[in-house]
Amino acid sequence: MSAHRARPQAKRPSLDGGRILGLTLLGLLTLAAVVGPDLVGQDPARQSLLEALQGPSGRHLLGTDHLGRDMAARLLSGAQLSLFLAGLSTVTAALPGTLLGIVAAWFGGWPDRLLTAFADAVLALPGLLLVLMLAAISPGSWWALYTGISLTLWVEYFRYTRQRARVVLAEPAVEASQLLGIGPWMIVRRHLMPEIGPGILTIAAFGAATAVTAVAALGFVSVGIRPPTAEWGVMMTELLPYWRESPFLILQPVACLFMTVLALHLSVGGGVRP
């Protein structure tokens, strides 16, 4: 029997049913995005007006859109774009966010005040505004979208890491390690990373979901990715006028978006336990 003061310990995320479902779904989506376009073998941009608005067939597995482009190829190419942008912006937000959080907590004093003030300033600026500003500089380019999304998302990692790291670094365990001659890198690795890792992963999953939604939303209002690039939000805008004739078509990008966000949220697992 453990016989001392209980230390608050975040539960190790266990593999519950929802989490398995989320991770499987995410794996399948990624696999589809990577190898799918080759399997389908159709050019997502090739128009064929004679074949417009067709239902599923042997040649076009999920039918064709209003310009006769293959829906399956377009959805998969959209998945590639969305997942790539989400992954990239998550990594480029998580790395500096976490590192700066550790720096702020470690050094305290003016570096902490400076970084916190900067993070607060970014937080005060609506993320959407930032993306719109960048999109105005370089309309329709993916890097403007990506930069805008990363710049908005890193603050969350920073704030979380700084908060947790301050608590962990103040523990006697860190002092003991320092007295034992253990260097900063090992202290981060042994004391800090195990404490903040699960939280960072959770933020990353939610952040990626935010990024996927943001890309689609901006595409939908014609600020983000521009046609003819196959992007889920752009596809929704294009197919909206035809929802009466072929509702099946617009449902497809909506379902893709829904599944991706669901998979990311489920992959976090746990949720609220009683």
Partner: protein
């Protein structure tokens, strides 16, 4: 002689389970009105579970069985809501570390007033009068306007006591009421508790401290690993114990330890000269000098808040002194000064296996792993423990592992900050003996910070008592150590 009253609380065959495992019991006891029971046991013996089982506040995965009768009313068969209605009215509790049980955002007076008003259901005016009377009788005048965080441990304990007993519950359950208090406040809390049976109430005290039991008297019940090993009048049990465990428990009392003879030491390893230490604008220590020798054991004692830990951290080089110098012997490596902590689990990275933590230290200092396992086995640590994480090892064992970790880097000085205050008496004695042996064998100088004078007296070669801060004085400067309000460094035999 007091006339034995009616039976106030009786517990029969009480057991607490987690799943199929018995954590506690079976235990039986009866306390009459005006009676007192002290449950003594080591940490982790399941003492707190007994209180929780009686109250009906066991954690979700735990289950209690057995008969609990309070004033002739069965408690164990009551619905949870009906049980809760008895809290404060029939049964009151004084939890561990009162500053955690009080509302941190509410001043002292309203906390007690609230209990008078809503638990004993007095009208506002009468509740106010009753509150003032309570504050007066407990000597809390002046504390009314303070938040719990601003109160001293003893004051907070009295405020918690006032709130808990406001509705006149005839039965008081106190769970480690003296934990974390220094010796002076310790005595005050014990005499406060002793008032309960004198007023005709029934008192159940849970403690790991034999001294508390000795002061209180009444009946005693000794628990070991959740089982009742001995029961009887406290004086009898403490004077002539019948079971080996109780004997061991009593022998572990610092008062019974072998006294350390003063010793002559020659090689000095640390010299602190006229240190001045301030924290948060308050002068804690002024003009403190210390010459520490290899193999010497020094104890620094004093009430809580006097700056013992700050002094230790300054000696360790973790804090800069406001004045004065600290010089280490040239032979000491940068890691030549190591520290032991009060709460062993907090001294290790929480989510990493112990073997990993120890291997890191060994690798950085180029120490062969065989040497580390050798140290561990000399300290009596079973190797299988290293596969666990800090939270999964008992406090005593973890403290031994942290001693082993410190020895890995071959320190010249070991600073220990209340290293045994969270350990039970037997483990405490074993740990302190171990430290004494290491000091002798390895010629390591040790500085122990403790609020327990008995330990300091029994263990150290030399004692330094820190008293109330702010008046600069030192025995060498000609002041009288007995009356010196600040600090007296006196050599003790």
């Amino acid at each position: 002689m007091t006339v034995p009253g009616q039976e106030a609380i009786s517990v029969e065959a009480l057991r607490v389970f987690t799943g199929q495992n018995v954590l506690l019991g079976p235990i039986d006891f009866h306390v009459r009105e005006g009676g007192m029971l002290v449950i003594i046991g080591e940490t982790g013996a399941g003492k707190s579970l007994a209180v929780q089982a009686i109250l009906g506040t066991l954690h979700g995965s735990l289950r209690a069985e057995g008969r609990i009768t309070v004033n002739g009313q069965r408690l164990d068969t009551l619905a949870p809501g009906a049980r809760a209605a008895l809290w404060g009215r029939k049964l009151a509790t004084l939890p561990q570390e009162p500053w955690r049980s009080l509302d941190p955002l509410m001043r002292s007076r309203p906390q007690v007033h609230e209990a008078h008003r809503f638990v004993s259901c007095l009208p506002r005016r009468s509740a106010g009068i009753a509150t003032d009377r309570t504050f007066g009788s407990l000597g809390l005048h002046g504390a009314e306007r303070y938040l719990p965080g601003a109160l001293s441990g003893g004051m907070a304990q009295r405020v918690a006591f006032a709130a808990a007993t406001a509705a006149g519950a005839p039965i008081l359950l106190a769970d480690e009421p003296t934990k974390g208090l220094d010796t002076v406040r310790h005595a005050a809390v014990v005499s406060l508790l002793a008032q309960v049976p004198q007023a005709g109430g029934a008192l159940v005290v849970i403690t790991h401290d034999i001294a508390v039991a000795r002061r209180l008297g009444g009946e005693a019940l000794i628990l070991k690993e959740g089982r009742m090993v001995e029961r009887g009048p406290t004086r009898t049990v403490l004077v002539s114990p019948t079971t080996p465990y109780t004997k061991a428990l009593l022998e572990a009392d610092p008062a019974c330890w072998q006294r350390t003879r003063p010793h002559r030491f020659d090689e000095s390893v640390l010299m602190a000269d006229s240190l001045g230490i301030a924290r948060g604008g308050r002068v804690l220590i002024d003009d403190f000098s210390l010459r520490l020798h290899a193999g010497e054991r020094v104890a620094i004692t004093g009430p809580s808040g006097v700056g013992k830990t700050t002094l230790l951290d300054t000696l360790a080089g973790l804090l800069m002194p406001a004045r004065g110098t600290i010089r280490r012997a040239a032979r000491l490596a940068p890691t030549g000064m190591q520290k032991l902590y009060q709460d062993p689990p907090a001294a290790f990275p929480a989510r990493v296996r112990l073997s990993c933590s120890l291997r890191d230290v060994a690798r950085i200092h180029g120490v062969a792993w065989a040497l580390v396992t050798d140290i561990l086995s000399r300290l009596g640590v079973h190797p299988s423990l290293l596969d666990r994480r800090p939270g999964e090892v008992s406090g005593g064992e973890l403290q031994r592992i942290s001693i082993a970790r410190a020895l890995t880097v071959r320190p010249g000085i070991l600073l220990a900050d209340e290293p045994t205050s969270r350990l039970d008496p037997i483990t405490q004695r074993d740990t302190m003996n171990l430290l004494a042996n290491i000091a002798n064998e390895e010629r390591i100088a040790m500085v122990l910070v403790t609020h327990d004078n008995a330990i300091a007296e029994a263990w150290a070669n030399r004692r330094i008592a820190l008293n109330a801060p702010q008046v600069p004085a030192f025995p060498d400067s000609g002041s009288n150590p007995a009356t010196d309000p600040i600090m007296s460094g006196r050599e003790s035999a």
